[in-house]
Amino acid sequence: MVYAASDLPYRGDPDNRMHAEQSITGTPVIGNYAIKNAYRDAHTPNMVTVILGDYRSIDTFGEQVVIFTAGMITLLVLRRNRKRLE
């Protein structure tokens, strides 16, 4: 594993595969668009917040609904209802 790790690309190198505009199969991907444009789009220095709250906001909405559903399920499962048990 150490030998394989020595062959990994340098962190932060702009020529890395993950920063390319196109994936290996030739489809266009986001690449480093978020890193380039996050501050210009939302005036927010923390680009993780911009990706989470703006570019990928529907995904975050899904996460919130998942947590909400979990709470509703605990309400249904854990609520004691002595009358029906007797």
């Binding site: 789009d41 005036h43 703006d54 609520r79 004691r80």
Partner: protein
């Protein structure tokens, strides 16, 4: 079941810590634009400060902070804040959750996005806090000391 009794020392420590944790939770939510943090983490901290009082003081003391029936509406309000923000952008002619179309006058598109992210983070924080408190309340119901 083991005996349950109230410890004044634990209660004093919880009362000392709880407000600071709550202020730090709001800080994590509102400072999420500039430092690590955001709605989920801040909401968990807010829930931690409420649960500390609930664990240390029992349910009668906790009823003074947030009543048990109030947690479910709070969670719904949190989800609705998020959804309404997206819907308002869609009503004004943009995509769903396209904050640049939010109907707030006198703001450029980038500052509208800034504000939109802040609004949804507050919604997430409210929902996460209410859900965590609600899970605890449902788990201890009937086994808590007065």
């Amino acid at each position: 079941m083991r005996d349950q009794f109230q410890s004044p020392i634990v209660l004093l420590g919880a009362r000392l810590l709880s407000p600071y944790i709550m202020v730090f939770g709001w800080y994590v939510i509102f400072h999420g634009h500039y430092s690590p943090g955001g709605g989920f983490q801040g909401g968990a901290l807010l829930a931690a400060s409420l649960l500390l009082i609930r664990v240390a003081g029992g349910s009668t003391l906790a009823e003074l902070q947030i009543k048990e029936f109030a947690t479910t509406p709070l969670a719904i309000i949190g989800v609705v804040i998020y959804f309404t923000t997206g819907l308002a952008a869609m009503m004004m002619g943009g995509y769903f959750l396209d904050y640049a179309q939010l109907p707030i006058p006198g703001m450029e598109a980038d500052w509208l996005r800034y504000t939109g992210i802040l609004i949804i983070e507050v919604g997430i924080g409210l929902a996460v806090m209410a859900i965590l408190v609600m899970i605890y309340d449902n788990m201890v119901r009937g086994e808590d000391y007065g």
